[in-house]
C-alpha cells in the first residue's frame, strides 16, 4: 500500500473497473455470440444474445447425429467433426509423447554433460526455431512425397507424416526443460554416480522424478501446439476423413456452402476442452513460454 494517495484515487479506481468491464464485454462478445449462435435454428438466423427459441439442431449435427426438424426434414451431419477431433487428439498425443521423450533426453545432455559444440548447437537451435515451417512447405511436401514412395505410412496424406513433421519444433521445449534442469541441484546425481550408477540411471531414477511438473507443462504445451498446427497439416493431409480439426473446421465457412450455425456448435464443442485445459494450466504455460524460450 502506497503511503501517499492522491485524492482522485477513488474515481480512478472506479473508472478502471468500469473500463475493464467494458473491455471484457467487447472481448467476450465474439465468444458468447458463437455459443448463442450454436443454439439458433438454421444457418442464417439472426437474433439476440439469448436465443428466443433455442434448438439443438447444430449440436446434433456436430455430434455426428442426423437431425429431424419440425418440418420433418432430416439433415445429415455435413462434416465428421468428432472424427476430426479424434484425428487431432491422436496426432497431438503421439507427437507430444515423442517430443517429450526426445526433448527430455536432449535437455539432460545439454544441462549436465560437456561435449564439443554444445553452445553452438543450443544457439543455432534458437535461431532455426524462428523459421516458420510454412516457408519450407514445398520442400516438406517433396520430402514426404519421396518418403511415402517407399514407406507408405509416412507418406503424404498420412497422420504419420504430420506427427513426424511436428518433431522439427522441439528446440523451444528443449530450452524449457534445460532451464528447469539447470535449476535443480546436481549433487544428488553426482552422489548416485559416485555410488556406481550409470549416467542413464542417474537421469532416469533421480533427475526425472524431480522434474515431473515441467514435463507435464511441456507435454501440455506440445499438445496444444500440435492441435493448433495448421500450415503443415493443410498441405500434408488431403482426404476429408484424415483431416485434423484445424484444417477441417474452415470447410464450414466456404462462400458456396456457408454453415454458420453448424460451425458454431462444432467450434464450441471442440474449442471448449482445449480452452479449459489451457486456462487450468495457464500459470505453468506462461512461465514456460517466457522463461524457457527467451531468458535461457
Amino acid at each position: 500500500m502506497a503511503m501517499v494517495q492522491p485524492r482522485s484515487t477513488k474515481y480512478r479506481v472506479l473508472a478502471s473497473h468500469l473500463g475493464m468491464l467494458a473491455f471484457i464485454a467487447i472481448v467476450l462478445f465474439p465468444l458468447l455470440m458463437v455459443i448463442s449462435i450454436s443454439f439458433r435454428s438454421g444457418n442464417f438466423a439472426s437474433g439476440s444474445l439469448l436465443p428466443e427459441n433455442p434448438s439443438l439442431e447444430h449440436w446434433y449435427l456436430a455430434l455426428g447425429l442426423p437431425y429431424t426438424g419440425e418440418d420433418g426434414i432430416t439433415t445429415q451431419p455435413p462434416f465428421p467433426v468428432l472424427l476430426w477431433l479424434w484425428n487431432s487428439i491422436k496426432v497431438a498425443v503421439v507427437s507430444s509423447v515423442l517430443i517429450l521423450a526426445l526433448s527430455t533426453t536432449s535437455a539432460y545432455a545439454f544441462a549436465r554433460m560437456r561435449f564439443a559444440g554444445k553452445g553452438a548447437v543450443l544457439k543455432s537451435m534458437l535461431i532455426f526455431q524462428m523459421f516458420p515451417p510454412v516457408l519450407s512447405l514445398v520442400a516438406l511436401y517433396a520430402l514426404f512425397d519421396q518418403i511415402g514412395n517407399h514407406v507408405s505410412w509416412l507418406g503424404l496424406n498420412t497422420h504419420g507424416a504430420v506427427i513426424v513433421a511436428s518433431l522439427g519444433g522441439m528446440a523451444l521445449h528443449i530450452w524449457t526443460i534445460k532451464g528447469y534442469f539447470d535449476s535443480i541441484d546436481r549433487s544428488l546425481e553426482e552422489a548416485a554416480i559416485v555410488d556406481g550408477a550409470t549416467t542413464w540411471q542417474a537421469f532416469r531414477y533421480i533427475l526425472l522424478p524431480l522434474s515431473v511438473p515441467i514435463l507435464v507443462v511441456v507435454f501440455i504445451l506440445a499438445f496444444i501446439m500440435t492441435i493448433m498446427e495448421y500450415p503443415m497439416a493443410s498441405v500434408l493431409l488431403v482426404d476429408t476423413d484424415k483431416l485434423t480439426l484445424a484444417v477441417g473446421a474452415q470447410q464450414y465457412l466456404y462462400e458456396q456452402n456457408y454453415l454458420w450455425g453448424d460451425f458454431a456448435a462444432a467450434a464450441v464443442l471442440s474449442g471448449l476442452p482445449i480452452t479449459i485445459i489451457f486456462l487450468y494450466c495457464q500459470k505453468w504455460i506462461v512461465g514456460g513460454l517466457t522463461a524457457g524460450g527467451v531468458k535461457g
Partner: protein
Amino acid sequence: MITETLSSPGIESRYFMFRAFLKWGALATLVGMSLYLILALYAQREFVFAMLFLVLTASAVMVFFNRKLYAHRYIFPAIAGMGLFVIFPLMYTIGIGFTNYSASNLLSFGQVQENLLSRTYQSEAVRYDYELFKTNAGYIVHLKGKHQNLTSAPMELEAGETTAPVLPLSGQPRGEALGIRDIIQLRELLAQVTLITEDGRELSRASLRSFAAIHPQFSQHDNGSLTDNQSGTTYFPDHETGFYRSADGETLSPGWTVNIGWDNYLKVVSDPTIRGPFFQIFVWTLSFAVATVIFTLALGLLLANLLQWDQIRGKGFYRTMLILPYAVPAFISILVFKGLFNQNFGEINLVLEGLFGLRPDWFSDPALARTMILTVNTWLGYPYMMLLCMGLLQAIPRDLYEASAMDGAGPISNLFNITLPLIIKPLMPLLIASFAFNFNNFVLIALLTGGAPDIIGASTPAGTTDLLVSYTYRIAFQDSGQNFGLAAAIATAIFLVVGALSLVNLKLSKIKV
C-alpha cells in the same frame, strides 16, 4: 532366444544381455530400413534425398557406436529431427529458388524422356474394320483388311484378358456375331485390348468400329534429339529452359526441372506484374507486423498496469477473463471472426446496421479488410503481451512510484519516466520475436481472408491483405501454374529477414549457454 543359450548366468546379466540384444537389434533394424530407403531413392535418381538419408544414417551409426560420443546419443534424435524437418527443408527451399520447378517442369530429365518415349499414336494407314464374335471360350475379334482378314484368339474380356495374337483367316470365325448394341456395351473393355500380329506389330481400338496399328510417337537419336514419327518434326533437348524444343520454337510438355540461376529473383525485380504486387505485399507485411506489435503492446501494458495496481480488487477474475482470447485455439477464434464479420449474415454488421445504419463490406474493400485483420490480431495477441508485462512490472521496485507520487507525478509521466525505461530492455527480444511471428502470421491470413481482395493486374495470385508467407503459399499451392521456384525464391528472401531478426534477438537477449 539368446539368454537361453547362455550357460546359466545370473538374472541380472541375463537382463543386461537381453537389453543389449534389444538395443543392437533395434539399431540394426533401423539401419537396415534406412539402407533400403537410400538404395531405393538412389535407384530412382533422387540423389538429394538419398544423400540426406545417407548422412542421417551415417551420423546415427557413428554416434551410437563411438563411446566418445556418448553425450551426443542423448541429443542425436532431437538434432536429427530438426535437421530433417527444419534445416534440410530450409536449404532445399533455397535450392528450389534457383530452379524452374513448377507444375510444367515437375519431373527430372530422365522421367521426361521415359514419359515421351512411352507415348504412342495410332496409324491412319493401317486400319481395320472389325466384327466381334462370341464363343464359349470368350470373344473373338475379326479384323477385315483390304488384302486379308485377321482373327484373334478367344479372349475372356470380362475376366480382364486384354492381349491376344491375331492370325490370318480366310473364312468366317466360329461363334455368334454381335450387333452394335453389344459392342457399345463392351466398349470400355475393348478399348484396353491389344492385338499382336505375327510380325510383332500391335493393334488397338481406334474407333467404335475399327482397330489400327500402334506406333511409338517419338524415336530417339544418338544426339539425344527426338523425332515425332507422326509429323516428322525433330525436337532438341533445351537444358536452359527444361523443354524439348523444335527448330521453330515449339515445345513438348512435360518439361523437366533445370537450374535457371537468379531468374526467379530477377523476375521479382523486373517483371511489373510480379514486382508491383510483391512490393505492395512487402509494405503491408511490414506495417501489419509493426502495427500488431504496437497495438498489442499498448493494450497489454495498459491492462497489466491496471491489474498490477493494488487498489483494484477481483484481480483473479479480470485476469482469467482477459486471457480468454489467448486460451481459445486460434484456428477457432479466427474462423469465428470470419463469420461475425460476414457482410450479409455477420453479427457485427447487424449491430452496426442497427446502431448507425452501416453495412461495411469487410472482405472486399482493402482498407476495411486490413482494419479487420488488425482488429482480430490485436484481440488474439494482447493477452500474451499483458502476461509478459505483468511479469516484468513485478520486478520494478515499488518505492520508485511512491517517490514520484510525492513529487506529484500522474500516471502518464510514471509510464514514460519509470515503467517504460525499466521494462523496454528485457521486453525488446520478446517484441522482436513477436514481430517475427506476425511477419509470418500465415494462419491468420489463410483462415480469415485468404488474401482477398485480390490485387488487380497481378500475374500470380496476390491479395491486398496477403502477407509474404501467404503470398508464397498461394503461388506454390493455389495457383494453377504451381510455380514452386518463384515461391521458393520469395521464401528465401523471407529467410534472410527472419535470420537477421533472430540474430539481433540473440545478441539482445544475451543468452548464456
